[in-house]
Assembly symmetry: C2
Homo-oligomer: 217 residues x 2
DNA sequence: CTCCTTACCTACTCTTCAGTAGGCTACGGA
DNA sequence: TCCGTAGCCTACTGAAGAGTAGGTAAGGAG
């Protein structure tokens, strides 16, 4: 059996476009998350995906398009995971709690997705980060709305600062998620509860020993 | 007068190495902060600096070295600015308050420095980010120590979570600083006080209307 | 005046990699 | 059985940009 014959026989069969696109995106997320956007080469992605480079261009377009597609897919998954845990009927603190839990659970399960979202997309000033910045804004708006609602239901005028604080909270979550990647011995629930206590009760209470606990469902 | 003669006559005189190095670093910070590490070219940096490319290589070494030098210089300035405002004699909340104020003041005054530190260095997985990660760790350790001290002086065992919370706070500060870049109408003091209230009092107090205020010095 | 060091430049090389041209083959329908 | 389309590849081009070779010249020391 010649080399050519062997290669032909062991080559995976022709697959429908859908499947290939998934394979390519999976590979791209892996490679981007490992090397970063610029150091990731289309050649390596095609190799990991098990297809040739022109296939990528045919199906997903240029490098930037491919990256944007990765971001879009992973960010959508993240947002959906969070949305699944939160309903507007819950009290504000419970909404935040479930949101945080869902977030850390996602990060714990999809470390690569998280890396490509956070570490890569944030930085590059190029046209791709827009996709990611938009998602981040959505997250901030979500938290902002939560804060505004919880203030107004108590009859107060919403503070000017809610949007800024929402941004701070999102940043805190991201940073804590990064810390967590280096300390995997802690459970996702524990990490979430730390942050919950910080933002809901403040350091002041860390010092005095008061803690927030979720009310039983 | 020929072109050559004009060029020669308008050319800035020979300058000592020190001065050139400063010019080059200034240019590098500007260009890196605008385009990001990868999209910044040595040619452009040399042009902005007003020297030729080989000068950069002679004085500051390769691209990575140059970038690391930028990070080191800017990060050192930031840490010194923060350290200048904080003394260990102050109460924990005042230490945090002054640290935050110094931080936001620095960001407000040195936007480019901040961009190159935060947006660029965090992301690239290369050998340079180590410089930055080290600085970030120092900041986290500083906050961690603050939390541990404030807990132990109250006779409590320090919680396991202080390091994680310190990371969260640093992330919140970074994220809030980014938000602030897009909302320059707010004063640095105001932004600092928002974050201070968040971390010291929690959202719970935002909702109930309690606020932390610095005790008069 | 000569020599040597230090400042400084032009004009390359060489590599890496995004993106493409052009074609081959499996397979379903007419 | 012939044809069209969709899956798939090898083998290239072209540009950008990091890094360098090999110089010129200013100016101080002797």
């Amino acid at each position: 059996m010649s080399v050519d014959e062997e290669r032909r026989s062991t080559r995976v069969k022709r697959l429908p476009r859908e499947v290939r696109e998934r394979q390519i995106l999976d590979a791209a997320v892996r490679v981007f998350s490992q090397y970063g956007y610029h150091n990731a080469s289309m050649d390596e992605i095609s190799e990991v995906a098990g297809v040739s480079k022109p296939m990528i261009y045919a199906y997903l377009g240029h490098k930037e398009d491919l990256f944007a597609a990765c971001i879009r897919r992973e960010a959508t998954m993240l947002m959906e995971a969070i949305a699944a845990g939160v309903t507007t009927e819950q009290a504000p603190d419970m909404q935040l709690w479930h949101g945080l839990r869902a977030f850390f659970q996602f990060v714990g399960e999809q470390k690569q997705s998280w890396r490509v979202l956070h570490r890569q997309a944030t930085s590059q000033g190029g046209p791709f980060s827009e996709e990611l910045l938009a998602m981040r804004s959505r997250a901030i708006n979500l938290v902002d709305a939560l804060l505004v609602r919880s203030a107004t239901t108590r009859g107060e005028a919403p503070a000017k600062s809610t949007e800024a604080l929402a941004a701070a909270l999102v940043g805190a979550s991201e940073s804590l998620a990064d810390w967590w990647l280096d300390h995997p011995e802690v459970s996702d629930k524990t990490v979430a509860s730390w942050l919950m206590n910080l933002v809901w009760m403040g350091f002041g209470d860390l010092v005095t020993g008061t803690v927030w606990t979720p009310t039983p469902e």
